[in-house]
């Protein structure tokens, strides 16, 4: 075993990328040397690199430096991190952080992510916390590697460490730079054998300290993402591209109605499909398996299945959803969060404003439907997947199939965008189940109709807000009440709640779900916040499953709250930027200098936009049928603050809204890669713009009727703003602080945008849109109701 590195090509490619760059190839060869000179078990990631051998797939030990970093004989390094990268540059950012601490050039490194037997379990991705939380152990272990190498270098060169300097993986005497030794000379192809400490993986550390910010050289550079060339030249091997010997293709056959139960399958109906292998069903889960992909698609369409309609309607039609939610008995509620004396403040208020808002179900509707390839060879189970939480998939599948964890592994590879969808990785469980049933590798992909109807969805909300203003237009009281339809919110790769488990009849205790209060920074002395969760009549085997969709509650909650702040500004006849600045100035909350940083981003957004101070709506005349206006929205997510300004053009004849310009000022502390951050902020805004203008899951009382890009429209090229400005702000009172921390950026710009668009529509037209999406029919109806539409 120790000398073999005869990886099957598919696994080699899977682990190392088929866009094998020179450095990746050399990594493989170098790792081969490692395997030859040491034993597989002794080498970090060795068991996975020698993947030809069957498991057991032991957990990489996060308390061993060798788990995280390998120095190769050619003086390059490979980093291993337990994160995944949905295309937001996480991998590039981790390499930058680790290069800085290790003192090695960026292009001399590679990174392996999210493969459960190769990389330490950092949980995969989610919550915008990759860099904010998981970057720290990665930096500390790289610093510890550098410290260890300096110790070795001092011994080799016969001088104290203080007399040494490191440049790009080479240690030299300060006094005589010709006397030098490389990292590879010291340890290339060998183990560090350095134990780390830490009560959990997030706390992993060695003895060394990370560098102060002013000594970072690679962090802060706008390096280009390493994953992009393979994505544009067709060379990248995606998870969907892996092919294995004996592999077959599967497609699911879903119940046509929510909650329908399987009566009978007529297998003879697909007997004439070439390549047909089997129908596999258990409970209400049904799949067909064929030799070729197009055969499986045909068989799934052709298979005759009798289903029985459930006795009671699973849910109200989408047109009735909000009324249903308002009336439904809560499944849970939170204790009211009360500050000051809101009742007295409302009584004393000069004016009281009230408004209700609604947000419908919105889906992930990933561009590529759910996918997994499961290989049951050697009594193990290997799953090739783009699961953002690969470790959770491994644990979940092991439990689901009743296999020891050590016999299951997940190989993380690139796939369509995730944003929480693959945290409940239905396809991974299904492929593994089918592969075990058949004893052959099974490649499963969902179809478009299936993905759009049955993917996990962000919870819908209804909100009621009340605000009291004093005679000076100051906000003295606020009431916020939110109801989310989120009962039975899906867990992360929970083997009892993924769709296949539900269809097989699992009925665990439902997760109670969440209804969130807004993250309020504003200084409002008297307030009451109440939230409650409701559920649908049918909570199992329904396509209306709530799960985590990108900052799972933030976009909905911030839409309502920042729209209402705008309504209060209108009532106070105040400029909406100044109104927010005044509310922030009055705040006493200043964790991580959030108040100072919030003031800075609001000011930076206004300055970049060229905001002229005035109240809304905009006075003056339309240019033909087009009214234009601007709106601002501000929020924070965890420790990241963001202010967004949208400029819209509203066609009063058609109701069509074009967001012509977007500005986002964003402070997430230390910036690891400004180019990647800029891109993430931009796409986060545009994804929210799609939710603002287009996205809504519609259904009748039996099934989802938004099933493809015709019935479920998404943002398109023509909706793209003409201009987007992203301003990276460092609003820390001591911007050059040596311990400036990086905060998450995955969702900060996504959260405030819908409100900015609604506020801009109001500024342009005087009409308040209190329910996204702002499709033209709905905008036109609102304009007409206000006597402003000009259409005949």
């Amino acid at each position: 075993m120790s000398t073999s590195l005869t990886l099957p090509k598919a696994i080699e490619d899977a682990l190392l990328g088929a866009n094998l760059t020179t450095s990746r190839r050399s990594f493989l060869k170098a790792s081969g040397a490692l395997v030859v000179t040491l034993t597989v078990a002794a080498v970090p990631g060795g068991s996975a690199l020698a993947a030809a051998a069957p498991g057991p797939y032991v957990d990489p030990d996060f308390r061993q430096l060798d788990t995280w970093i390998v120095i190769h004989p050619d003086n390059t390094a490979t980093f291993f991190v337990g994160k995944t990268d949905g295309g937001q540059g996480t991998g590039t950012a981790f390499r930058q952080m680790m290069c800085d601490e290790l003192d090695i050039a960026y292009d001399k490194t590679t990174l392996v992510m999210g493969c459960t037997d190769v990389t330490p379990d950092q949980g995969g991705s989610g919550g915008s916390d990759a860099i904010e939380r998981d970057g720290w152990p990665a930096r500390r272990v790289a610093a510890e590697a550098r410290r260890t190498l300096l110790d070795l270098g001092g011994k080799r060169l016969g001088v104290p460490v203080e007399q040494l300097v490191v440049t790009n993986a080479t240690i030299a005497l300060k006094s005589d730079p010709a006397k030098q030794v490389t990292y590879a000379d010291l340890i290339g192809g060998k183990r560090f054998n350095v134990a780390l400490t830490g009560s959990n993986i997030d706390a992993t550390t060695g003895v060394a300290k990370v560098k102060p910010v002013n000594e970072l050289r690679v962090v802060g550079l706008p390096l280009k993402r390493y994953d992009i060339p393979g994505k544009v030249d067709g060379s990248l091997q995606w998870a969907v591209d892996v092919k294995l010997p004996g592999m077959v293709h599967a497609r699911n056959v879903r119940p046509p109605l929510a909650g329908a139960s399987l009566q009978r399958i007529d297998e003879s109906s697909v007997a004439n499909v070439p390549g047909f292998i089997r129908v596999i069903s258990r409970g209400n889960y049904v799949a067909v398996v064929c030799e070729r992909e197009e055969q499986a698609i045909r068989a799934a369409r052709q298979l005759k299945v009798e289903w029985k309609r459930p006795a009671t309607a699973p849910f109200p039609a989408s047109g009735e959803l909000f009324n249903y939610m308002r009336r439904a008995t809560p499944t849970s509620r939170t204790e009211p969060e009360i500050l000051g004396n809101p009742d007295a403040a409302f009584t004393g208020a000069k004016r009281v404003i009230e408004a209700e808002y609604e947000v419908p179900f919105q889906g992930h509707t990933a561009i590529g439907p759910a996918f997994a390839l499961a290989d049951p060879s050697n009594g193990q189970m290997t799953i090739y997947s783009n699961d953002m939480k690969a470790y959770g998939l491994r644990n979940g599948v092991a439990k689901f199939l009743g296999m020891p964890r050590e016999q299951v592994r997940v190989v993380y590879m690139d796939g369509p965008q995730v944003y929480g969808r693959t945290a409940a990785d239905d396809a991974g469980f299904e492929a593994a189940f089918l592969a075990r049933e058949l004893g052959r590798p099974v490649r499963l992909q969902w179809m478009r109709e299936e993905e759009t109807a049955w993917d996990t969805k962000g919870p819908p909300y209804v909100f009621k807000l009340r605000g009291g203003l004093d005679a000076a237009g100051k906000v003295v009281a606020l009431e916020y009440d939110a109801c989310a339809l989120d009962h039975n919110h899906l867990g992360y790769n929970d083997p009892e709640t993924v769709l296949i488990a539900q269809l097989m009849g699992k009925r665990p205790t439902p997760a109670k779900g969440d209804a969130e209060a807004p993250s309020v920074m504003y200084g409002i002395p008297n307030r009451r916040m109440t939230t409650r969760v409701v559920g649908l009549p049918m909570i199992w085997e329904t396509p209306l499953r709530t799960g985590n969709l990108r900052d799972p509650n933030g976009p909905q909650v911030t839409f309502a709250f920042e729209s209402f702040i705008d309504e209060l500004a209108v009532a106070a006849n105040a400029d909406p930027v100044q109104f927010r600045l005044d509310l922030l100035t009055a705040s006493e909350e200043d964790t991580v200098f959030r108040r100072a940083r919030s003031l800075a981003v609001v000011r930076a957004a206004a300055k970049t936009y060229g905001w002229d101070s005035r109240s809304s709506p905009k006075p003056g005349s339309a240019k033909g049928d087009i009214l234009s206006g601007r709106g601002i929205s501000y929020t924070y997510r965890s420790n990241t603050v963001a202010a967004t300004i949208a400029e819209v053009e509203v066609n009063v004849q058609t109701g069509h809204v074009w967001v012509k310009r977007l500005v986002c000022a964003h402070d997430c502390g230390l910036v690891i890669n400004p180019e990647g951050l800029h891109h993430t902020i931009e796409c986060g805004m545009l994804h929210a713009l799609s939710r603002a203008l287009w996205e809504e899951v519609q259904f009748d009382a039996e099934k989802v009727t938004s099933v493809n890009w015709g019935s479920h429209p998404s943002l398109r090229h023509s909706d793209t703003p003409a201009k987007i400005d992203v301003v990276l702000v460092n609003g820390d009172p001591n911007p050059g602080r040596p311990d400036l921390a990086p905060y998450g950026a995955g969702e900060g710009s996504h959260k405030p945008l819908i409100a900015a668009v609604a506020n801009a529509i109001h500024d342009a037209t005087g009409v308040r849109m209190r329910r996204p999406p702002f499709r033209k029919e709905r905008v036109l109806a609102a304009l007409k109701a206000a006597g402003k539409g000009t259409a005949a």
Binding site: G87, Q417, H678, H679, T680, C683, H717
Partner: protein
């Protein structure tokens, strides 16, 4: 099953498949190409696009037996190891996020520029309208097309640098 002859990226291939098989599955599963992806199978999203005789075509709907012309896929755009200017522009603009749709974006942009080397912003939007991106990289994609068409860098990248 029957033998179908295809000219893909300059090479001739013979495959033994059901002639009604959509081209996409033949390209992906028989010819091992990784550019065109399955997105909807309905001709709605465009991520499966290939170029046939100068036109961007959705391979998820086209029966392989109906293909008459020479097929170019994403893999066939580079020449002698040199990326096509659009591919280079995509890298320069750092256009992709997840990248799953970018095949359709690039192939459709190529068909556009081949017939109209100097499109207006409106023409770019119209030509690209049918290719969806759920990471919403549209702004960068349009910038990359303009970079090739007009030889211009864009504010997005410059601002970050």
């Amino acid at each position: 099953m029957s033998i179908v002859k295809l000219l893909v990226n300059g090479a001739t291939h013979e495959v033994d498949v059901d002639p009604s098989t959509p081209l996409l599955y033949v390209l992906r599963n028989d010819l091992d190409l990784r550019g065109p992806h399955f997105g909807c199978g309905l001709g709605q999203c465009g991520v499966c696009s290939v170029i046939i005789d100068g036109n961007s075509v959705r391979s998820c709907l086209l029966p392989v037996s109906a293909v008459k012309g020479a097929i170019t896929t994403l893999e066939g755009l580079s020449k002698d190891g040199k990326l096509h200017p659009l591919q280079q522009a995509w890298i320069d603009e750092q256009a992709p996020q997840c990248g799953y749709c970018q095949n359709g974006q690039i192939m459709t942009a190529k068909a556009l520029l081949d017939r109209n080397p100097n499109p207006t912003d409106a023409e770019i939007r119209t030509a690209m309208e049918g290719i969806l991106c759920r990471c919403m990289t549209y702004y960068r994609i349009q910038a990359a097309i303009k970079r090739v068409a007009h030889g211009t860098a864009t504010a997005a990248v410059e601002a970050a640098q």
